[in-house]
Symmetry: C2
Subunit: 228 residues, 2 copies
DNA sequence: ATTTTTACACTGACCAGTCAGTTCAAAAGA
DNA sequence: TCTTTTGAACTGACTGGTCAGTGTAAAAAT
């Protein structure tokens, strides 16, 4: 099957043409490069969220980042590598945020339901801050046959694992029903927040985060069916 | 879409080669074109679900459908028109299914929560039957700046409106809390089912639909936090 | 002095859409 | 019954354009 046309019949195994290799990660003053990469991330995220990966050209990314095309290839081996690192970066932020809110609730003596609620909020805050990244993530998550599929699976698992951990702890401690299916419920909660937030951003952007959070809290705590 | 397999009957790739032939032509004219369009729908859905719209070539679609490239353009004005008609068809099936399950519950004297539960099931059945279409739909739904965006918005609204109607009726009749935010809750429920089902298909495909449905019912009815 | 960025020309592959020609079953004609 | 015509359906080579990635020399930043 011919998949990515990125790597053609030529050689160019190296890819990155950075002199001296890219081995050094400890930056002793690579602030400038950092800033360039950041600009490229932002440009790529917004464009790919709008149009999708394949429909977005490297020229467009460079232009929106206010950078020459060559700079893209000086900083990233290829278009897909840029995208993959971008995914890693974004999901890392989300995972860290979820973890932090869960931990904070636990330290504050909150219940597991409180922790879930805090994570719902953290999810909303994340989507509020990085709506384009979220769009892009959702669009790619369930695809198959893409180059970065395995990367995406790993990252997804890291994020979902945080939710699963809280659910499992809750079940073990008796606070949550033993009947619940931990992985499936985690996915469902994830989807609840995700879709609600995307709809919020897409169709009712004027509403406040607190407002949206309150609506989801109600659903989470099963206060929909009960009157009042 | 691999949906209505009404006719289909094998593949019926003419095969007759005899000139001046007298063949049996059981079906009159017109049917052939239908069958070709159906094959193109199916090929396009599976490919676009895997790779995305832009990464999927018309040549690939034609090849998977077992048809020449020109035939694609004989049957559809363009690649995006093919895609748009495909979306219309698929979302139409979903909306009809949701509506039917809600109506059926109402006729049977079920409560609104029962109706919601029935719709959750209908959603799961749909995704179980058309997983590729669902992937594709999710991937495109929140994009901006795409040709078929407005079509997608309209279709989304039709589907969500069915859920909203049930929620609103429930609030009006006092069965559901007045506090709930109808549009947001509808979106959240939609997302809950969607993401849970996609995860089911992607990561635990062996599980039964009943199993998944039971887990979501529990969440819907707020029996997560309470023991019992 | 070294790293990073720029500007721009260039290549090779790839792809949406076109069009002149082919097939064939049913209708018209003999 | 047999032959001819018709036209919808289909075909696939071809075109015009696009885009990822390369190469280089010089400028800018550190």
């Amino acid at each position: 099957m011919e998949s990515t046309k990125a790597m053609d019949g030529g050689n160019a195994v190296d890819g990155s043409r950075a002199p001296g290799g890219s081995g050094r990660s400890a930056d002793g003053g690579g602030t400038r490069r950092q800033a360039t990469r950041q600009k490229l991330y932002e440009a790529a995220v917004s464009l790919i969220a709008e149009q999708g990966f394949s429909a977005t050209t490297v020229d467009e990314i460079a232009e929106r980042a206010g950078v020459a095309k060559g700079t893209v290839y000086y900083n990233f081996a290829s278009k897909s590598v840029l995208f993959e690192e971008l995914l890693r970066h974004g999901v890392g932020l989300l995972t860290a945020s979820l973890r932090e809110s869960a931990d904070k609730t636990a330290q504050g003596g909150g219940s597991k339901v409180d922790a879930l609620d805090a994570m719902v909020r953290a999810g909303l805050v994340f989507i509020d801050r990085y709506p384009a990244f979220t769009q892009l993530y959702v669009a790619e998550l369930w695809r198959t046959n893409r180059a970065w599929q395995s990367t995406l699976m790993v990252l997804r698992q890291e994020a979902v694992a945080v939710v699963e951990r809280v659910l499992r702890d809750g079940v073990d401690s008796g606070e949550l029903s033993e009947e619940i299916d931990v992985p499936l419920t985690a996915a469902a909660l994830f989807g609840m927040v995700l879709v609600a937030a995307l709809d919020w951003k897409a169709f009712q952007p004027a509403r406040s985060l607190d407002d949206v959070h309150a609506a989801l809290s109600r659903l989470l705590q099963g206060r929909v069916a009960g009157r009042r």
